[in-house]
Every structure is written in C-alpha cells, then in structure tokens.
C-alpha cells in the first residue's frame, strides 16, 4: 500500500506546477490546462485522504469536482472562442482594454 505521504506529496507537486503555470503562462489555453491540473491535484489529495480515513465523503467530493471542472472548461473554452472571433488571438497580453 502506498503511504499517504507519497500521495499528498505528488498532489502538492502537481498543484504547485498548476499554480505556477496559471500565473506565468501567457496563452489562454495553456492557462486553462494549468487550472485543470490544479483541480486534478485536488482530486488526488481528496482520494488519498478518503482512503486514509476510510471515509467516502472525499470520493464523493472528487465526483463533484470532476463534473464541475467539465462544466467550467466548457464555459472557459466558449469564452476563449468568443474572444478569438473578435480579436484573432488567444494571448493574454492582448486582453488589455480595461485598465486602471
């Protein structure tokens, strides 16, 4: 049996990678993927904790997160497409009409 520390360690690494990606990348699609990575790291943590506690709550949470992430990414891609149609770009630097 894999010890819980390993599961949580992996999840923490994935979450950090996702956070850094979301903060530093400039392509909207890559940012979306990074956010998905964060959510999947969360899922891993929930599953690991659920197994460690022998409690089903965490696994139910994972099902909810997966469902919500699917809805979120659908809306996100829709917004990206609406923007691409108006601007011909998916670079976040071009999203700069509104400032200060």
């Amino acid at each position: 049996m894999i010890p819980i520390e390993h599961v949580i360690g992996l999840s923490a690494i994935l979450f950090t990678v996702g956070t850094l990606g979301a903060l530093t990348r400039r392509n909207l699609i890559v940012i979306l993927m990074s956010i998905e990575l964060m959510l999947n790291a969360v899922n891993l943590a929930f599953v690991g904790f659920a197994r460690a506690w022998g409690d089903l709550g965490g696994q139910i949470m994972v099902l909810m997160v997966i469902t919500v992430a699917a809805a979120e990414v659908a809306v996100g891609l829709g917004i990206v497409i609406a923007m691409f149609r108006n601007r011909d770009s998916v670079n976040i630097e071009d999203v700069s009409l509104l400032k200060w």
Binding site: I8, S11, F15, G18, T19, A22, L28, I31, I35, M38, L39, A41, V42, A45, F46, G48, F49, A52, W53, D55, G57, G58, I60, M61, M64, V65, V68, A71, E72, V75, G76, G78, I79, V80, A82, M83, N86, R87, V95, L97, L98, K99, W100
Partner: protein
C-alpha cells in the same frame, strides 16, 4: 441477498428556494423556445421587447416564490435539514436571511434587465435562465453546512456569471470582462478546493460540524487549509490583495449584470464565510483575527484611495465595492454577535444603495451605449432632474451620511468594532469613509454644477426600471430612518439580522 431497504426521511422544505430557482431557470429556457421569433405551431412571432418582458415576468414569479418560501422559513424560526442523517443543506434563519438578500438582489436585477437587454440588442432568453441558475447556486451556498455543498453552490453561482459577464459577446470589453473573471474565478476555486482538501485530510470530515469538532489549531496543514479557504472567499468578495479583477469585470460586463453580481455574489460569499467563521472555527480567533485585521485595513485603503482617480462611474463603483468589502470585513474582525449581525445588515443595506446606483446607469443607457463616463453626468440635474436626485441619494448613502441606510450599516459595524476593542481599526475605517465622500460626491457635483454636454440623455424611463429605483429609494430612506421598523410597517431589518446570527452560536 438484497440489502435491507434504507428509509430516508428527506425534508424538502430545506431545499425549496434552491429548487424553485433551479426549476424556474429550466422553465425560462423552455419558454424562450416557445416564444421564438419565428412563427411556430403555437405562437405568432412577437417583438423582442415582449419576449424580454414575458421572460422577465416568469423570472419574477420564480424569484418571488423562492423569496416567499425563505421568508416563511425565517418567520417560523425552525431549522429544516434536508437529510438529517447526513446534513448538507440546512435552511435556518441565517440561511433564510441570505436567501432573502440574494433573492431580492436577483429580482431587482431582472427588472433592470428587461429594457436594458433590448437597448443593448443582447435580448436572448438564456440571460434570465443563467441569472436564475446562478441565484439558485447562491441559495445553495448560503444554506450549505458541508464542504461538498459549499463547493457545489459556489460553482453553480460562478459559472453562469462568467457567461453573463461576457453576454454582450460582440463587444471586446465584455469578452475581456468574462475572460478575466473566468480565469481569476477558477484559479480561486482551485485554491479554495485545495484548502478544503487539507481541511478534510486533517479532520476526516466534510461537514462543518465535524470539522469544527476535530479542528486542531496547532496543525499547520489544518491552518493552511483554512487559510486557502479564506483566500478563495477573499477572491469572491474582492478583498485586497485578491481584488484586481473587480474593476475590469464590473466595467466590462453589461451594467445589469454588474448590478446583480456586485451585491449578490458579495452577499452569498460573506454569508457563507460567516458560517465558516462563526459556526465552523470559533476556536481559533487568535491568528485569524490578525489576518482579517490586515485584510480589512488593506481593502479599505486600496478600494477607497484608488476610487478617487476614476473617471468612469462603473469603475468608480467597482473600487467603492472593494472599499465596502473592507468595511464588512471589520465585522469579522470584531468576531462578536454584534459584529456578525452588523455584517448581515450591511449586506442588506448595500443591496439597495448599490443596485440603485447601477440602476441609474442602466436607466440612462442609450442607443447601445452605457452612460458611464463622469462627463456624461454633467448637467444631468437640468436634463433629467428626477434621475439626478435619486443618484445623489444613492451616492450619499454609499458615502454613509446620516439619514440613509448606508450610515446605519456603517454605524453598526463601527460600534461592534469599538465594543470588541478595535479602536485603531475603526479610526482607519472612518478615515477611509471620509475619503469616500470625496469621490461619491463628484457625481452630484457634475450633475448639479456643470453645464450639460452636447448629447442629450435618453428621455423617458421603462416601468420596470422605475420600479427598481423606487424600491431602492424606499429601502435607502426607510431603513435609514427606521432600521427597526415602525408600528404600521414592521420591517425591522436590524432585528432580522440579530435573529439570524443568534442561531449561529
């Protein structure tokens, strides 16, 4: 061998407001199909403003029904738990108060939208469906007593608002508003979720009661989890340092959407945070209070100071809403029943004055453009004296001048903070409040002391817009003079807030 049948006694009263709004959203979506612009076997085609009117009416009925069920729950004073064996959704007075604020905010936003959507030529039926769906998410979140239902409510409220912010999809700034809100919002959900995972991992429970029982303030993972949850909510209520999205999103979104989200998202997030803070973690006020103290001061300072230099009224109101988030956070720092009931009353007061201010902007929208630059308001007192007068009222209420509901709300918050011994915090907040008078009064100064511009403002006003402004003027003045109601009209907002909080302990 079959397992024995499980008997589940579900109490559907607990989810009535949530279900009504959700079902209403589906019904509105279907209704739009039948009200198609082409001839169908049932209906003749009708004009776009009628479509908007009919859908708005359906949304109004839905919301009134939801608010009524919540009001009944509030008056009965009982606690309905959906599934007592695994409490996830609980409709008590506290939740009912939150549902009431959110529901009234949504109702006013629906009325503001009916004409505005036609004016901006974005008159699609999904708008009302998304608005109702997001409202049902907020209702779920404020009545949630489990991490799972908190998360689900948060997402059901957020995802439709991402779409609503970008609803004017041919306009670049609306796209941009949706994009920024989506990215920051989903990033914040990620942080919030990791915080929930840590809380779950260190306590072994997803329900708030279980987490509180097993909470160990000495464990860094638990405290970190709680911190991440607070960060997630700080994003939603636009508290500094997680506020940068607010001005851009508020400015770019259609004004009716801005009016909706500025009051309801804030109300839902703060009410849920209250349940977390008061019911969930009464045992760790030490570090938490210091963190909230810093957040409150930073939010008041940044919001009020940056608002001074804005030339766009929508953007100025966005920074002002950051400032108001700071004032509300003071109630959390005070961490007393007075502080918490002051938070609830502040959310209630903010509803009327902020929707009113945005309502004036909506009522001036003309030929597909928002009248949101400060120069647009020059000389408005001469061209539209009525609108100028109500705008002035909302501005002085937002600034917190006596005689308005804004003053009563700020007074409650400051009194609670002083009573809890946070004198310095109160002094800083009063200074922020003084700064805010400057930028709020810039609008009346332009309206009353400048010459009108060359383009004359829109004449005439839609009935529903007038209804919204009337409701908001009533709310600002009535609760400003009689926060505890009068004999003829026992609308005692202050004691509603107190009764709601009494249950938390």
């Amino acid at each position: 061998m079959n397992p024995p049948p499980v008997e589940i006694a579900l109490d559907f009263r607990a989810v009535a407001p949530i279900a009504i709004s959700g079902i209403g959203a589906m019904a509105v979506l279907l209704l739009e199909v039948f009200l198609a612009r082409r001839k169908t076997f049932l209906f003749k085609p009708i004009g776009p403003s009628y479509v908007s009117g009919v859908l708005g009416l359906a949304a109004t009925f839905t919301l009134v029904a939801a608010i009524t069920t919540a009001a009944q729950a509030f008056l009965s004073g009982g606690t309905a738990v959906f599934n007592p064996e695994h409490p996830m959704v609980q409709l008590d007075r506290f939740a009912a108060f939150g549902i009431g604020v959110v529901g009234v905010g949504a109702l006013l936003a629906v009325w503001l939208s009916i004409h505005y959507l036609v004016e901006l030529r974005i008159n699609y039926g999904e708008y009302y469906a998304l608005l109702l769906l997001s409202t049902s998410g907020m209702m779920l979140m404020v009545s949630a007593v489990d991490l799972i239902s908190v998360f689900l409510g948060l997402e059901i409220l957020s995802i439709p608002i991402y779409v609503l912010a970008g609803f004017d999809r041919r306009k670049l700034d609306s796209n941009e508003s949706a994009m920024k809100y989506f990215l920051t919002g989903s990033f914040a959900s990620g942080l919030l979720l990791y915080g929930m995972a840590l809380l779950y991992g260190t306590t072994g429970h997803t329900d708030l009661a279980g987490i509180r029982a097993a909470f160990d303030a000495g464990n860094p993972l638990t405290v970190g989890g709680l911190g991440l949850v607070i960060v997630g909510f700080a994003f939603k209520v636009s508290s500094v340092p997680f506020h940068q999205w607010t001005p851009d999103v508020y400015e770019g979104a259609p004004t009716s959407v801005t009016a909706y989200m500025s009051v309801t998202v804030k109300a839902a997030a703060f009410v849920t945070l209250l349940r977390f803070a008061a019911a969930g973690f009464a045992t760790v006020p030490e570090n938490l209070t210091q963190v909230l103290w810093v957040l409150a001061v930073a939010t008041i300072a940044v919001g009020n100071i940056t608002a001074v230099v804005q030339d766009n009224v929508k953007r100025m109101l966005a920074y002002s809403s950051i400032g108001h988030a700071g004032f509300i956070l003071i109630g959390f720092v005070a961490a007393s029943p007075e502080g918490y009931s002051a938070v609830l009353f502040y959310l209630f007061a903010y509803l009327f004055m902020n929707v009113g201010a945005f309502g004036v902007i909506v009522a001036l929208a003309d030929r597909g453009r928002d009248w949101d630059r400060i120069e647009d308001y020059s000389g408005l007192a001469r061209t539209r004296p009525g609108l100028a007068a109500v705008m002035t009222l909302f501005m002085i209420s937002l600034a917190g001048i006596p005689g308005t509901v804004g003053f009563v709300a700020k007074f409650q918050i400051f009194a609670a903070a002083v009573k809890a011994g946070h004198v310095w915090l109160t002094v800083i907040a009063v200074l922020g409040s003084v700064i805010s008078i400057y930028y709020y009064l810039r609008v009346p100064v332009h309206m009353y002391m400048r010459e009108p511009g060359e383009v004359s403002p829109r004449t005439g006003m839609d009935t529903t817009e007038g209804l919204v402004l009337l409701t908001c003027v009533f709310g600002v003045l009535f609760f400003g003079f009689f926060p505890d109601g009068i004999d003829r009209l026992p609308l005692s907002a202050l004691s509603w807030a107190r009764d709601s909080v009494a249950l938390l302990r």
